[in-house]
């Protein structure tokens, strides 16, 4: 009896000079949840893309149920029973659940016949796997957790026996994530095989049976989850011991540096994204804003930084008003002591096609140090970039290298070095460690605490609740554009999770 659902033998894949997968061997047993972890750029996504037919391996073979298969495209993957739930959902927003599930598997030219069949099949699947969802609901009206469920249903509808989930909890609240894990447990019980890709060690420990670790394109270890530990896995991922807990002393708050009063921000369609938000950040403290992505945190940061116009409200920087409802100029705010590490370093914080040293002056290119009249002082710019590279251990240490060629962690360090080394009074940071490898996370967290201890006012937004809890001195929770509560970092994850889901907050607001 063969109990291996899927086996990879010697998978190798290069993109030009980048060797993304090196001689990967992997066996996933039938009816198990198999975790794959690794830092960003370790090659997890490439490997799964090969398995799902987006890329072809240069070498090696794939065996499904012991038989070698050739997976040329996603259709071939589906036909051998491999289904994928992508990190970014592949759903048609203005279609119903039913229409999305049958999309691409309509079975006949005349839709009506197919619809009736699909509806029946969907009902059966819902019952069998306890995946309730209204088949006639529009996708755009469903919460993220349910949209993900539709993705899973899509795969099951195509009779997938092996499900690949790529970073499935990135967009979920803790409660939704728990629910997902229960669903995965149910699927496992029904004999499905699940491959879970994540960089969150806690999830691996919570639900997987076995776990494989990737590092720099290689599969460095496979462990039985029960017999390993978070510390061991972290070490395997990074290749050295890492400090997972952030060490910090008591905060010592001083004067109010940033005061936000009744700030309201609307998006281009006039929908209120930030709803009369008020708070203060004092010198020497870190205020964290927790919340599920998309609850107004991004818009709040952008409005404070002068990138997005606010509808109403005031912001005081060092006691002086910022023209947030008019023409706040990010360049002027920088001069007044505001530094901003944006959430999206690829499109906002950096110009990926620039040389590293060019990005090291983005926003500060008017600075006297970097300019002689209308000309740039190239020597000064390069020298300054090299100093920052040394101080922040940016690798490779080459100020002339294109920024796109740095890893996510090193790109983030370029942004952090630029913003932190300006000695700002107020530092606002969005998603400081998104897509950043474990080793760099440690470094970045230390630097943020150092900024606090130097008496800077730090406003931190992150969707990683662990990060918020370990760095912040005070935590504000945002839900649907409002601050629904303030907690100390000692608050339990459950308590914060309820606030983030809008459950507790509504009660609190009503009282």
């Amino acid at each position: 009896m063969n109990n291996i659902a899927i086996e990879l033998r010697g998978i190798d894949k290069s993109f030009g000079l980048v060797h993304a997968n090196r001689n990967i061997n992997l066996r996933v047993r039938k009816g198990t949840i198999h975790g794959i972890i690794g830092e960003n750029g370790a090659g997890k996504s490439t490997l799964m893309s090969i398995l799902y037919g987006f890329y072809q391996a240069d070498n090696g073979e794939i065996l499904v149920d012991g038989k070698p298969v050739s997976i040329r495209d996603p259709n071939a993957a589906i036909s051998v029973g491999i289904g994928m739930v992508h990190q970014h959902f592949m759903l048609v927003e203005n279609f119903t659940v039913l229409e999305n599930v049958m999309l691409g598997a309509e079975d006949s030219q005349i839709l009506n016949k197919g619809i009736a069949k699909a509806r029946q099949e969907l009902k059966r699947l819902e019952k069998e796997y306890a995946l309730e969802v209204n088949p006639d609901a529009l996708i755009e009206e469903l919460p993220v957790g349910l949209q993900q469920r539709v993705e899973i249903l899509k795969a099951l509808y195509r009779r997938a026996d092996i499900l690949i989930l790529d970073e499935p909890t990135g967009v979920l609240t803790p409660a939704e994530a728990d629910h997902l894990f229960r669903i995965l447990g149910q699927l496992k019980a029904q004999g499905k095989t699940i491959i879970l890709i994540t960089h969150k060690l806690r999830e691996i420990m919570a639900i997987t049976d076995e776990v494989s670790v990737m590092r720099r394109g290689e599969m460095v270890a496979t462990r039985t989850t029960r017999e390993t530990s978070v510390e061991e896995l972290a070490e395997l991922m990074v290749g050295r011991r890492v400090l997972l807990r952030v060490e910090k002393g008591e905060s010592n708050p001083g004067d109010v540096k940033l005061a936000v009063q009744g700030l309201t921000v609307k998006d281009s369609r006039g929908v209120t994204m930030v709803d009369t938000v008020s708070f203060e950040v004092r010198a020497g403290e870190i205020v964290g804003i927790a919340g599920v992505a998309g609850n107004g945190q991004s818009e709040l940061l952008e409005a404070i930084a002068g990138i997005r116009r606010a509808a109403s409200g005031t912001v005081l920087l060092n006691g002086k008003p910022v023209d947030v409802t008019g023409n706040a100029d990010p360049a002027e705010l920088r001069d007044r002591g505001l530094a901003h590490v944006p959430e999206d370093r690829h499109h906002v914080g950096l110009v990926l096609k620039f040389e590293e040293c060019e990005n090291a002056i983005l926003g500060y290119h008017h600075d006297r140090r970097f300019a002689n009249g209308m000309f740039l002082n190239i020597d000064a710019i390069r020298k300054d970039a090299e100093e920052k590279i040394a101080k922040y251990d940016i690798r490779p240490p080459n100020a002339r290298l294109r920024t796109a060629n740095f890893s996510g962690g090193n790109q983030q360090k370029v942004v952090l070095a630029r913003e932190m080394e300006r000695d700002p009074d107020v530092l606002i940071i969005g998603q400081p460690t998104r897509g950043v490898d474990v080793g760099a996370i440690e470094f970045i967290h230390k630097r943020i605490i150092e900024m606090r201890d130097q008496g800077k006012a730090v406003l931190l937004v992150s969707v990683e609740l662990d990060e918020i809890r370990s760095l912040s001195d005070r935590i504000l929770v945002m839900f649907a554009g409002r601050v629904v509560g303030e907690r100390s970092p000692e608050a339990t994850e459950g308590e914060l999770g309820l606030l983030m889901a809008g459950v507790e907050g509504r009660k609190e607001a009503a009282e």
């Binding site: 290069s14 993109f15 030009g16 000079l17 980048v18 993304a20 750029g41 996504s45 490439t46 930084a305 002068g306 990138i307 100029d329 990010p330 360049a331 002027e332 705010l333 920088r334 901003h340 944006p342 999206d344 499109h347 906002v348 914080g349 950096l350 110009v351 990926l352 096609k353 620039f354 060019e358 002056i361 983005l362 926003g363 290119h365 008017h366 300019a371 209308m374 000309f375 740039l376 190239i378 294109r402 796109a404 060629n405």
Partner: protein, 377 residues
Amino acid sequence: MSTPYAKLPGWVEYGLIPLINLAVAFLVAGLVVLLVGENPLEAAYHLINGAFGRGEYIGFTLYYATTFIFTGLAVAVAFHAGLFNIGGEGQAYVGGIGVALACLWLDQTMPWYVVFPLAIVGSAFFGALWAFLPGWLQAKRGSHIVITTIMFNFIASSLMVYLLTRVLKPLGSMAPQTRTFAEGGQLPKLDWLLSIFGLNIGTAPFNISFLLALAAAFAVWLLIWRTRLGYEMRTMGHSPSAARYAGISESRITVIAMMISGGLAGMMALNPIMGEQFRMQLDFVQGAGFVGIAVALMGRSHPGGIIPAAILFGVLYQGGAEIAFEMPSISRDMIVIIQGLVILFAGALENMFRPAITRAFAARGQRAAAVVQTKGA
């Protein structure tokens, strides 16, 4: 992963790949010549001989190249700011007004070296003005610059017909053109430059505006890579959201970049008006504004690439005319086909051979790495 193609050495990126693209373009062009029943090798001979065979031919090649350097730079400057200026044709045409006004005013009383600087300023001013309007419409009203610049080409064309038939034409003349300029409105030829190489310029209109074009190329390089303004333009060109984050005003950069672009396009008018015809005629631009797009594409919007690309198109113009003359079954339109093929392979399909070349270099890199490893062990 995020970068499907790894970085190649500079000489491959900027030397080998364009050369391969060019070679393929000429191969396909050769096939076309074969199809009309002519000998491609003979055509190639006429092309090369027609462009370089004599001092006079070289003079013509460089005369055309001068024009294309200006229009290529114009497209490149806008392109660095993320703006696709298709209006070089109209901007060059209107730029002619500045040249003509300076010459008509002073040509009989002043020497060329007094008129020339004024004509430069005039051409750049009128060219910039013609680009300012689409730039301003884009910045303030969101009207797309590709559409507006195309429209402004047509407006320029009508405007110039009006000016040349009603306003600038001397009384009693039948031709839609200004009067012929006196000596003050005629640029000196660069015969001395060619004679250094022992070449005789003959009747070729190769003139001092070539040196101005080279100076403009250097100035554009300085602007784009060495000034704060250039830095802001490039930031906006690569990522408007990063520019907003950096406090760079999108509307300010749009208007300024378009004006610089239009100014450069306008300066193109100096070459035919003061350098060849000594008067402003109808349609003197003759599509050079559009060729500038191809030149900028091929030269990768870098002055160091635009100059050779402009010379290549000079060769195609001058040598192509020679082919049409020597081989009657190859018409003028065939030459346009060949030029089109060059644009197709060097511009639109420039990445066609890149994956294969990258793979070849990756294999080489791995072998080199393996050698290092065995040595280390």
